[in-house]
Amino acid sequence: MSDLTIPPELFAPVWNPASYKHREAVEDIFTTLRRDYPLAKVEVPGYDPHWVVTKYKDVREVSRLDEIFHSGDVSKTPVSKMAEQMLKDYSGGQPHIFRTLVHMDKPDHTEYRNVLKDIFMPQSIATLESSVRETVRGYIDRMAQKTECDFADEFAMLYPLEVICNLIGLPKEHHAIMLRLTQWFLSYADPDLCRPGSKLDDPEHQVRTWQIVYDEIKAYYDPVIADRQAHPRQDVASLIANGKINGKPMDERGMISYFVIASTAGHDTTAATMGNTMWILARNPELLARMKADPKLIPGFVEESIRISTPPMAFIRSATQDYELSGRQIRKGDRLYVSYLSANKDEEVFDDPFAFKPDRTPNRHIGFSYGSHICLGQHLARLEMRVLWEELIPRLESLEMAGEGKWQESEFVCGPKSVPIRYTMK
């Protein structure tokens, strides 16, 4: 029988954004947890106690049972008790500043998701393939004019950004603004990517920064919303701006947050996976040679890249009732830190889990989550990644790292912020 209580000193680095610059060390912690504390409680000083859910089977069960394990009742990310009280103060009683799809439960979650559901179904996304392919060819052509680049900064962070901004209906000159706001929102603790002036060692200041970023995003989107309500077009902005919830317009926080989730989650996670995958390719010439020799492996390569990368690493849920999970008694009100990063490396499900195997079969990773909260944009992300590698791999003649890669310092959504590469291309 494994232990019921995780030593806080073992787990605490998982909630410290700075730990992620050495991501292998965090992965090592989860390997230990899966072995010794697969489902156990931790009490990190200053935080409420949390169950830490590390195993694939348990993560899927909690994620699927979304009426028992709510998404919207507590903060989605680990915040101290003091910070959570501040979040409530800023948001009028909610445990989050933003109220996106990931912060909602039924019936609101279903109603909000329905606003964009149809256009993100695979048959709708398939109609975008030629334009997405054209976009990525532009980036590849520009890459081919050089022999070195920072793939994370110059390619991965920009290409999916351009795709999603075009879908939303934002002009090209605003894409850089959206990238900056995304980084301030999702990479708030990274010294290179956070909002200028953020005090990274002051939780109170961070919560205030989230509210400032919310206000800045609202200031950007308010005129977009007014324009699309007056003159609807064929774009995502028009669908959100005119979206109805139970026949009524969305409330302000719901609408602004919907734009946030579309314009941030819509590119940042894909960028993280692309950047990490290039990093892996640049260190593994055998893998590149294999992919060049057998392009049919690319769909499996994409799935494996998502499993290995798992950019949204965890979400917090809370129990609405007592529930027995893998022999543990979860009590109503308990919080659960649900680790997709750990589940996707579960040795009982994925043989040799840290090896990159483009032919891994089956590969039912949960990098897009599981249950009704499964990523709305999963098919767009897959398309963007597939056409990237279909177009880029045949043109790469040589590839190597040109310096040290760097991970973002983020305990929430995490990918590389720098992947310097040297290459020759056709």
């Binding site: 899927r60 994620s63 699927r64 559901k117 993100f120 179904m121 695979p122 048959q123 089956p362 039912r364 599981y370 249950g371 009704s372 499964i374 999963q378 098919h379």
Partner: protein, 59 residues
């Protein structure tokens, strides 16, 4: 008598396709299994939605 063509069904939560011709090997559903013959406890292999989340997609 010719059996009706296999049909495809789609999960309305995640877009996953259940193709009757292929079945769902991971879920223990043999190729050629009609959607109506899948046990009620079967779940979408991609998102875990229940069988009633699927609608006819093609056929």
């Amino acid at each position: 008598m010719i059996a009706p063509a296999y049909r495809k069904w789609q999960c309305t939560t995640c877009g996953e396709i259940y193709d009757e011709a292929l079945g769902d090997a991971e879920g223990g559903i043999a190729p050629g299994t009609r959607f109506e013959d899948i046990p009620d406890g079967w779940m979408c292999p991609n998102c875990g939605a229940t069988k009633d989340a699927y609608v006819l997609y093609e056929g």
